[in-house]
């Protein structure tokens, strides 16, 4: 099928959206009510992002949209035109694991592991956000949208505070996502 990026609405009731996912440009044609989470998992095979509750309460589906942590189950894929999406699969780089991944590894910051991708994505975003203070209370508040049923919060908190040593905050006050 020929696709034209400027012709976004398709006859079948589907819509084409252009995203950059983990640094790779990609074009998806899908119904407009498909949430980003399902697009990532079902269309792109990026199953590292998990479906926990499906309505924005558990945080297992957290991804970055232009660097900001977002519940991908609450965002329609078509709303993300032109945006840069990072999932857990894109957290590591050529030089190795992201400091948050390394710290989660070293601190055993998971038990069953199902919430871990979402926890790490929220953690990676908060460490780069200069609006969030670096004390434990602020981190706990910033991470409050990520549930861990195994209750591994203590190790997750230590991992985040440890990873902080290798990440410098980028976003400054007043800058909105």
């Amino acid at each position: 099928m020929m696709e034209h990026s400027e012709t976004r609405s398709q006859g079948s009731g589907e819509t084409t959206v252009n995203l950059t996912v983990n640094g790779e440009p990609c074009q998806l044609t899908l119904p407009p009510n498909v949430v980003l989470l399902d697009a990532l998992r079902d269309r792109l095979g990026l199953t590292g992002t998990k479906k926990g509750c499906d309505h924005g309460q558990c945080g297992a589906c957290t991804v970055h949209i232009d660097g900001q942590a977002v519940n991908s189950c609450l965002r329609l894929a078509v709303m993300c035109e032109g945006r840069h999406i990072t999932t857990v699969e894109g957290l590591a780089s050529d030089v190795g694991l992201h400091p948050v991944q390394q710290a989660f590894l070293e601190h055993d910051a998971y038990q069953c592991g199902f919430c871990t991708p979402g926890q790490m994505m929220s953690a990676a975003a908060l460490l780069e956000d200069s609006r969030i203070a670096d004390d434990d209370a602020a981190v706990r508040e910033a991470m409050s949208g990520n549930l861990c049923r195994c209750g591994a919060y203590k190790n997750i908190l230590s991992a985040i505070q440890d990873a902080r040593r290798h990440v410098s905050p980028q976003r400054t006050e007043g800058e909105s996502p």
């Binding site: 095979g45 590292g48 998990k50 479906k51 998971y110 038990q111 069953c112 199902f114 919430c115 195994c150």
Partner: protein
């Protein structure tokens, strides 16, 4: 090609051409022939201290997969492109008769390929795990909101869910029975009542200096495994199925799938790599979904996937049993129990499921850590119109303990003593060391040691004093402090489940594969089992790999439950590894140094990746890889199975006496809370824990289990409130309405230590102790601390009833009740002394 993967990486980062020429050089002489042996064998990378590999804090076997998102759960497994997605039609009412189920429009809905009801089940229609009573689909009797009526398979998940809505359902609705106490009065039980009795409890009550009575409601708990119920079923080329399922009990699901399909067990294979949480919720209640998907896979010849959406998952599956407990206990002036009567009523839901054993365990733990004296403990299994309540970490034990912990607080207030003092006086001790079910408590001083150590390390008494001073000056904000112990019996109380198998495979490169009947749900079982095998064979952890739990590798397994995973499967793996080791020793003794008469069989050992024979001058070391290859060529089997059955345990149900537990695991926790008595809001400001895991198999895993269990236990008793409406519909069916502990509930000060220097007195795996469930009940300290804070409102003269979960609402009501009682009392003329 195996050989191509083992080339050592060059130090720097040279050019591709250099790299490949180096690689070619390395290959010279090694890349020809097609013999059976690996050309490179695995090697030990780190010299580990003798035996050290079993006790060090080793990383999780899936660590790197977890942090990179590559650890696959059921919904992540790539399914065939023609996979069918299943959605369920669930009952909207709690009790009634299904008078009409018209699915014609469902069948005609877009994308629908198959629709099934009970008449389409080829084999058994009852999938009750232990006792009958769980129909796979409703026949005509409807027993709870969320019971499965029919299933739809469609080409997409959305199509299946939309089609479900087209069903025409007519039900002759009847009143729902939702109160377990009323059900008990009516004699509506899922299983018969059971009683433990030791001595003459009535005589004890009559002759006691003091008698108190009380009652409580202990709420249930939704498992809220983050990965919901899910399975993927593929039809196989014979009449069978391959089932991928998030499941704590693959063997039972295998049995049920086979019976539902009316095919032999060997035609059904289960595979389970890891769960995104189980907590008991996938012990029996993962089976229905696998059975339904299997029927559809066989009928259509296509793969079928069933993943319950969160709200349906919480409505369709059972939870931790809510309990209504009562006590009437006698005690002396010191607060030491002389005897009495305890009744526990488990709300079992509509069917037996595991409720017989759950209520048994509640009864076995109605004493917690204290000698009850001459006592009777009665357990009822009430039938109600809710989902069939099931296993959940602690398996009734926590609910049973709650009644005696309530009594300890009440007795202390009655006598004007600190609750800790009364608790300590009642701990099992010499002369008072036999439980109400006849088991003698071994390691009798252990709990005394734990409590004393924790009392000191947490500064209990100085904090008690500081809190009293704070509360005297603070009219609204009240602090509370409590120390509660745990004694938890380890073993399945159903004796035949205390067995396990393992399969050990060694390949000709020396790499080792271990498989066992346990399942991994985050508790670190696989890591521990790998450690056991590595230790027995003297290898690095990296050389031992665990494979997914499969019913075609180790058959007839028990559920991974009752905290028994490492105890049972670790022993089975050890059995396999030690048998293989002995066989290798026999071989090595004859094969090597034949001209010198062979190696010395005595004192032979496997260490640091080598077989070592002899000592000093005559010491001979043979690398593991060489040993394995030589053994293979000499036609020595390199695989072994292991088996284990827990010794000593027995229980005579008719006499209600025995030794149901191989041993007890212990612990204690101190919790401090701050309560706003005008709003009921509170927070846990500090928790200190000392826990007994014997000689820990893996301290990092064990501490993680203790922290997580404490938090989950605290959630059960504080924020996690299940609410049903009057029609029996669960209205707290997702995280928006059901609050599990979040980051903010982690206490700012949280000290967790393992008790040192107390190996298990029984010969468990390397003298360790089970850790999955026991620390869950440490959360009781938070509830007791809330009661302590509330008691301060009346100068600690009285301890208010505080049902659970002790939500801010319940805490506020309790505070109001205390204030009102004080006002009423103040308004009345002073009466003379104690009416009791």
């Amino acid at each position: 090609m195996r050989t191509l993967t083992n080339i050592k990486a060059p130090e720097a980062a040279p050019s591709v051409s250099h790299e490949s020429s180096e690689a070619r050089k390395e290959q010279t002489g090694r890349n020809k022939g097609d013999g059976p042996l690996a050309r490179d064998t695995t090697t030990v990378h780190r010299q580990s201290a003798t035996g050290g590999s079993s006790t060090h804090a080793r990383a999780h076997e899936s660590a790197i997969k977890h942090v990179t998102g590559r650890a696959a759960y059921i919904d992540d497994i790539p399914a065939p492109s023609d996979v069918l997605h299943i959605a369920l039609g669930l009952s909207p009412v709690a009790h009634g008769r299904l008078t009409r189920l018209d699915l014609e429009k469902v069948k005609r809905a877009p994308g629908v390929v198959d629709v099934i009801t009970i008449v389409d089940v080829p084999g058994h229609t009852d999938i009750g795990p232990v006792f009958p009573g769980d129909p796979i689909f409703v026949d005509d009797e409807i027993s709870y909101v969320g019971q499965t009526l029919f299933a739809v398979a469609a080409t997409s998940y959305k199509a299946a869910r939309l089609a479900v809505k087209e069903a025409v359902i007519e039900i002759d609705e009847r009143p729902a029975s939702l109160d377990p106490v009323t059900a008990t009065e009516r004699g509506e039980f899922v299983r018969p009542t059971h009683t433990h009795q030791s001595g003459d409890w009535q005589q004890a009550l009559e002759s006691s200096a003091h008698v108190l009575e009380g009652e409580q409601f202990v709420g249930g708990q939704e498992h809220f495994y983050l990965e919901g119920q899910a399975c993927l079923v593929l039809p196989t080329e014979d009449e069978g199925v391959m089932v991928y399922t998030s499941n704590q009990h693959p063997s039972e699901t295998q049995k049920l799938v086979a019976e539902v399909l009316d095919i032999p067990f060997h035609a059904v294979t289960m595979e389970m790599r890891r769960m995104g949480g189980g907590f008991g919720g996938k012990e029996t209640q993962a089976s229905p979904w696998a059975c339904i998907a299997a029927i559809i896979a066989r009928r259509t010849g296509r793969a079928a996937k069933l993943r319950l959406p969160r709200a349906e998952d919480t409505r369709a599956t059972g939870k931790r049993h809510p309990f209504n407990n009562r006590y009437r206990l006698g005690f002396d002036d010191q607060g030491v129990l002389t005897g009495g009567d305890i009744t526990v009523i488990g709300d079992c839901g509509y069917s037996p499921d595991l409720s017989d054993a759950v209520v048994d365990r509640a009864m076995f733990h109605a004493d917690n850590a204290y000698s009850l004296g001459q006592a009777r403990v009665t357990g009822h299994r009430a039938k109600t119109n809710t989902a069939s309540n099931t296993a959940f970490r602690g398996f009734g034990g926590p609910q049973g303990m709650m009644i005696i912990e309530a009594a300890m607080d009440d007795i202390a207030r009655h006598l004007g003593e600190d609750p800790l003092t009364v608790r300590k006086r009642n701990l099992y001790r010499l002369g008072r060391d036999v439980t109400h079910y006849g088991q003698r408590v071994e390691q009798i001083t252990l709990l005394h040691d734990i409590v004393e150590q924790l009392e000191a390390s947490s500064d209990y008494w100085s904090r008690r004093k500081a809190i009293a001073e704070f509360n005297a000056k603070s009219p609204i904000i009240k602090k509370g402090l409590a120390l509660t112990p745990v004694k938890f019996g380890i073993s399945f109380t159903v004796q035949h489940l205390n067995q396990a198998g393992a399969l050990l495979l060694v390949y000709t490169d020396g790499s080792v594969s271990i498989n066992h009947g346990g399942t991994e749900m985050g508790q670190g079982l696989h890591t521990k089992v790998c450690q056991v095998v590595a230790r027995e064979l003297g290898l690095d952890l990296e050389q031992v790999r665990i494979t997914a739990t499969r019913t075609d590798k180790v058959p007839n397994t028990s559920p991974t439950a009752a905290s028994s995973g490492a105890d049972l499967n670790g022993q089975a793996a050890r059995d396999a590894a030690s048998k293989l080791r002995e066989r290798l020793f026999d071989f090595a003794a004859q094969h090597f140094d034949q001209e010198l008469g062979g190696l010395d069989r005595e004192g032979m050992r496997l260490e640091g990746g080598e077989l070592i024979a002899g000592v000093g001058e005559s010491e001979r070391r043979i690398p593991w890889g060489e040993l394995i290859q030589k053994a293979y060529l000499a036609r020595v089997s390199l695989s072994e199975k292991g088996f284990y059955a827990t010794p000593l345990i027995h229980y005579d149900r008719d006499a209600a006496k025995g030794r149901p537990f191989y041993y007890y695991a212990h612990g204690a926790a101190v919790a401090e809370v701050e309560v706003d008595t005008l709003s009921g809001e509170y927070r846990l400001s500090r928790a200190d824990i000392l826990h007994d895991v014997g000689d820990s198999l893996n301290p990092a895993i064990d501490i993680g289990q203790i922290e997580g269990a404490f938090i989950q236990g605290m959630g059960w008793l504080t924020s996690e409130e299940l609410k049903w409406n009057e029609q029996g519909r669960l209205i707290s069916d997702g995280p928006a309405t059901y609050k599990i502990p979040a980051f903010g509930d982690l206490p700012p000060v949280f000290n967790v230590d393992l008790l040192q220097g107390h190996p298990n007195s029984q010969a468990s795996i390397y003298r360790s102790k089970a850790v999955g469930e026991p620390p869950f009940m440490l959360g009781i300290s938070v509830w007791s601390a809330l009661r302590d804070a509330l008691a301060s409102l009346v100068d600690y003269r009285h301890c208010p009833r505080l049902d659970t979960p002790a939500t801010p609402e319940r805490v506020l009501m309790a505070a109001e009740a205390l204030r009102n009682a004080t006002l009423v009392k103040a308004a009345q003329p002073e009466t003379s002394d104690d009416p009791a």
